[in-house]
């Protein structure tokens, strides 16, 4: 199994541009999550999904959108990029009803200039 795969690994955006961060997992996990990690900080939950067609906001959802059309994929959309969205983004997935033992992707480093 490849686990959780994120693309791209790096991206530079101009203010106001949009982009989609891709995330896919091949472990048949129902639960998927998007976190952001700012320098010297822990991870903050942006959005999460408990199954296909179901998404919900996390701690810092403003400026982002998600969709979950399949079990495998959970893309994160930035519509109008802002410098405050410069961060490292991690996608994760887990087996069951609580987000125990999250399996993380390798991250996407995003800079908005």
């Amino acid at each position: 199994n490849a686990g959780v795969t994120q693309t791209p690994k790096f991206r530079i955006l101009k203010i106001g541009q949009s982009m989609t961060l891709q995330c896919t997992q091949d472990m048949n996990h129902n639960y998927m999550y998007w976190y952001r990690q700012d320098p010297g900080m822990g991870l903050k939950l942006i959005y999460y999904s408990v199954g296909a067609g179901i998404t919900d906001k996390g701690e810092v959802p403003n400026g982002y959108n998600v969709s979950r059309s399949t079990t495998e994929d959970f893309p994160l959309r930035l519509e109008l990029a802002a410098p405050s969205q410069t961060s490292v983004y991690f996608c994760a997935s887990s087996y069951g009803q609580s987000n125990e033992k999250l399996f993380f992707g390798s991250g996407t480093q995003l800079s908005v200039l």
């Binding site: 010297g40 900080m41 822990g42 009803q97 609580s98 987000n99 125990e100 993380f104 991250g107």
Partner: protein, 116 residues
């Protein structure tokens, strides 16, 4: 709001020594705790977890201790190796609104540096 914090942002040890990384939590309703290791340029990697009905749990070279009285969590690494150098995060599972949909809250992280 509730948060998980770490006492020491950095820890330097000699190879072969034991390392102890501490974490304080404030949400008494949290019932699950987890430690992650993050190497440079990589995503967090699961190390060990513990539920609130336990005080101690051991893995390979790692032990997690939970003191619910003082809301304190620690990660002990035995015979620390250079490959253990990384950032270590603790996280707690706060059940949201009584449902089983937990949301992990991460601490700031501790940088562990192991010197040969």
């Amino acid at each position: 709001g509730e948060s998980v914090g770490l006492h020491l942002p950095t820890l330097s040890v000699q190879e072969g020594d034991n390392s102890i990384i501490n974490c304080a939590y404030s949400n008494s309703a949290s019932d699950y705790f987890i430690w992650y290791k993050q190497e440079s340029g990589k995503g967090p990697q699961f190390i060990i977890d513990i539920r609130s009905n336990m005080d101690k749990r051991q893995g390979q070279r790692v032990t997690v201790l939970l003191n619910k009285t003082v809301k304190h969590l620690s990660l002990q690494i035995a015979a620390t190796q250079p490959g253990d150098s990384a950032v270590y995060f603790c996280a707690e599972n706060m059940k949201a609104g009584g449902t089983s949909y937990g949301k992990l809250t991460f601490g700031q992280g501790t940088i562990l540096t192991v010197h040969p």
